[in-house]
Amino acid sequence: MRTGRRETMTPQDSRQNGPGMRGRPLSAARVIKVCLALTGLLILTAVLSTMIGTATVTWDQLWNLLLGNGTATDPAWLVIFRIRLPRVILAGLAGFSLSLGGVVFQALLRNPLADPFILGVSSGSAFGAVLGIMLGLSFDFGVPVLAFGGALLTMYLVLVLGKKRVGMESSTIILAGVIINAFFTAVIMFFIATAVDDRLHTMLFWLYGDLSQSRFAESAITAPAVIAAFLVLYCFSKHLNLMTAGEEAALHLGVDVGRAKLVCFLVVSLVIGLVVAFSGLIGFVGLVIPHLCRMIFGSDHRLLLPVSALGGGIFLIAADTLARTVISPSELPVGVITAFLGAPFFIYLLRKRGSRWAGS
């Protein structure tokens, strides 16, 4: 009897049945296979993106330069190493962490509308950045430092306000985030309303996500933090699975929910604060890519976490490539592109596949 039942659960079946229906649980081999494939796609996207732009770089040129056969006076070298590659890498890192943060928050808060900005980290760092731009600080140091400081400030406020005696209940946390968001948004509007010169343009670009100021130094700071955050969060992937079944259920099943929540909140907020400080507010990635990946790969966070992160990287590199080429030589804020592409695609998928969020 049991063997008969087992035979019905071959991997072939599970593929036909789609992600939510698969009988067999996830295997390590599948996670590794899918992740390797997506990493390949990420690298391919990055290489293509480096070649595309106002000044076209051919494959031979790029290959030669990457092998170290270029000189610093070569215009192609300048375009690749000073402008495009740092930007592509930062876009990849930003997309990676925004999408990672989104998938974690959606699970933690059991809320399909959650994105990495829901706790107000965005408005806090926007406040810091806008203040920095207002004061005429540089994008090398002053603006990112203030933005990161603003993110830390909101994170602190949300956790203190949300913690109270109930012990970090999700709705309290979200509410605290929304309130803080509203407050800082008002402050930002005040700055914008009083800004007169070209600083207004800079502010608006920052608020819609701007990767044009990228340099290698920023990636060098961001990359280790992003990788560390991913590793920590991946340790909690099974915890996240159980917490989507409810916090109390997770407790019964053996998850130290309080600790898991605190660690995940902190790690996501820190890394998002850091990324946002360099990239500005890039919306939509953290909301759409996790849902998209959930539709395609199912709800198991052991696969969903890496897949969403890699998918976010791919998506943002592609979107940023469009942002700087569509109206070349001028460019658009990348947030415009992410929303422009993301929204219709998401609606298409939603209609075709149905949401993975069970109707309640």
Partner: protein
């Protein structure tokens, strides 16, 4: 095997309102204990205190002679499992995936479910007669099917004690009986201990070894179904006139509203 779970003068309050007061209970291995009482009498709070979802403000809960605080969440999950009244799933997990969640406390941090975990899960699903539901999404199951999957998840934890919070409340007559039959056979076959909160007085009377009747957070009466379920006790606690006779088919007390 002796005492498994001991509650010693346990009290719990929400703000200043005591929900439980002075509750003492000793559960032996292989016992089926029913917790009865009207709405708001503290039944669910008692279950939550017994699994350290809530920390009691008074008294001590101990498992195998050790206070519950001495256990980590993971080690507790290997000893005590809970079948909730209702579990809403935000994502469309398959029933098998839900049952495999019960294996969390037995697996390493980066471990994937192996042959053994699968075997335990399938065995649990067979024991609760839901093996054929393995591939069905949990949110598309009927109330009775879902309850059996959740019971299988609890079994997959391989606990010594299962707490059940009104597992039959949304079920029709036949499923109610099936669940109680199932619990009774699990107790006999595996020596499991079970604590069940229920509004089904008659079924509890028939299947439970012992019954604890709660009234406004305190123990009103405790003992065998025959001792506890007298017309006087039930009337006093539920505030509703009843007559109690013997069920001619089973010999257990039968409570009827008059």
């Amino acid at each position: 095997m002796g005492r498994l779970l001991t509650l010693n003068k346990v009290g719990y309050r929400y703000a200043s309102q005591w929900a439980l007061r002075d509750i003492s209970l000793e559960m032996a291995a292989g016992e089926l204990v029913g917790i009865l009482g009207p709405n708001g009498s503290g039944k669910t709070t008692l279950l939550k205190v017994a699994d350290r979802i809530l920390e009691p403000h008074e008294g001590v809960v101990s498992l195998k002679g050790q206070p519950l605080q001495a256990y980590s969440r993971v080690s507790l999950a290997r000893e005590i499992a809970m079948v909730p009244q209702e579990n809403h799933f935000q994502f469309a997990f398959s029933s098998l995936e839900v049952v495999l969640m019960g294996r969390f406390s037995h697996m390493g941090l980066f471990q994937f479910e192996g042959e053994h975990d699968m075997a335990v899960a399938f065995e649990a699903m067979e024991a609760t007669h839901c093996g054929d539901l393995a591939e069905r999404p949990i949110d598309q199951l009927s109330g009775g099917e879902k309850q059996r999957v959740l019971l299988a998840r609890a079994l997959a934890q391989e606990p010594e004690l299962i707490l059940l919070d009104e597992p039959t409340s949304f079920l029709d007559l036949r499923f109610k009986k099936e669940i109680f039959e199932l619990l009774s056979s699990l107790k006999k076959k595996r020596g499991l201990s079970l604590m069940i909160v229920s509004h089904d007085i008659d079924l509890s009377a028939r299947y439970c070894d012992r019954i604890m009747l709660l009234d406004r957070g305190r123990v009103f009466s405790e003992g065998t179904p025959g001792e506890v379920l007298t017309a006087r006790n039930v009337e006093a606690v539920y505030g509703c006139p009843v007559s109690v006779d013997k069920n001619p088919a089973t010999g257990s007390p039968r409570v009827s509203i008059v």
